[in-house]
Amino acid sequence: MASSSSYNPPCAACKFLRRKCIPGCVFSPYFPPEEPQKFANVHKIFGASNVAKLLNELLPHQRDDAVNSLAYEAEARVRDPVYGCIGAITFLQRQVDRLQKELDAANADLIRFACNDVPLQAAQPRPPQEAAGVRNVGFGGGGGGRLYQTGGVQISYDVPWNDIYNSHGGGMDGNN
């Protein structure tokens, strides 16, 4: 008698929920058994039935991105129960505002230089402020921002938690 050569281990969701992982399980393509924490976080914050409803309302090709963003939000909320990923939005918005002001000022300087309104010896560029939103820098928690890939764009920013779930690797990718 052949052993179960086609055995599929239960997905992380069904393992967590202690139920049989049937073919066609809505969670199994997105919550592999080797990433148990991903589902644990999503379940804690959103709840399994809410996630299932959400996935069922999406087209199949959208579900991978949806799960990744839910996992990201869930981990952010687990690490920062008060602000979740809104903390990152606030931080980035401040970065955008600051950089825009600096750019406006630099462009104004450049116009003056181009028009020869400012003597050359006074023509010093404004020192570029380090954009913590772009480079990995340490923060109060002692680590760097991790990367989250969505739509091909990597997110790297100073966040109040040490590492963010990287849906594409699961491994640490920051200074932490």
Partner: protein
């Protein structure tokens, strides 16, 4: 006639959560301070995405003085997820990150131009600066184009 017989003189209306959940809004209801009855949609959205019991657990784990901020951020996330079921507020993070990247690059380029003026070379951008990202916009003339002010 005792004052207590007057109708609802001293009873507070149920909070939006208890009204939605069709239950009695007790004093000490965890939701009541943050989901007033005049904002029913706020709780509906949060409940739809997170679920009332998850929100209740979360609020119970947070010190009281931080709960309002927590509810506000949950509300924001819930609304973002309802508007964009695929990316939720992570979409906003992506957009902001791109903006930071673009602005930083523009700032670096502008500062480089200023340095060129300061050093006396005065060569404007667009002469081989190599910025060929279609998302970037040259301040002067557009992407990589020769041109003046």
């Amino acid at each position: 006639m005792a004052a207590s017989s007057s109708s609802s003189s001293f009873s507070k209306p149920p909070c939006a959560a208890c009204k939605f959940l069709r239950r009695r809004c007790l004093s000490g209801c965890i939701f009541a301070p943050y989901f007033p009855p005049e904002e029913p949609t706020k709780f509906v959205n949060v409940h739809k995405i997170f679920g009332a019991s998850n929100v209740s657990k979360l609020l119970n784990e947070i010190p009281a003085h931080q709960r309002e901020d927590a509810v506000n951020s949950l509300t924001y996330e819930a609304e973002a997820r309802l508007k964009d079921p695929v990316y939720g507020c992570v979409g906003a993070i992506t957009i902001l990150q791109r903006q930071v990247f673009t602005l930083q690059r523009e700032l670096d380029a502008t500062n480089a131009d200023i340095m060129r003026f300061a050093s006396g070379t005065g060569a404007p951008r667009g002469s081989g600066s190599g910025y060929d990202d279609p998302n970037s916009t040259d301040y002067w003339t557009g992407k990589g184009q020769d041109g003046g002010i």
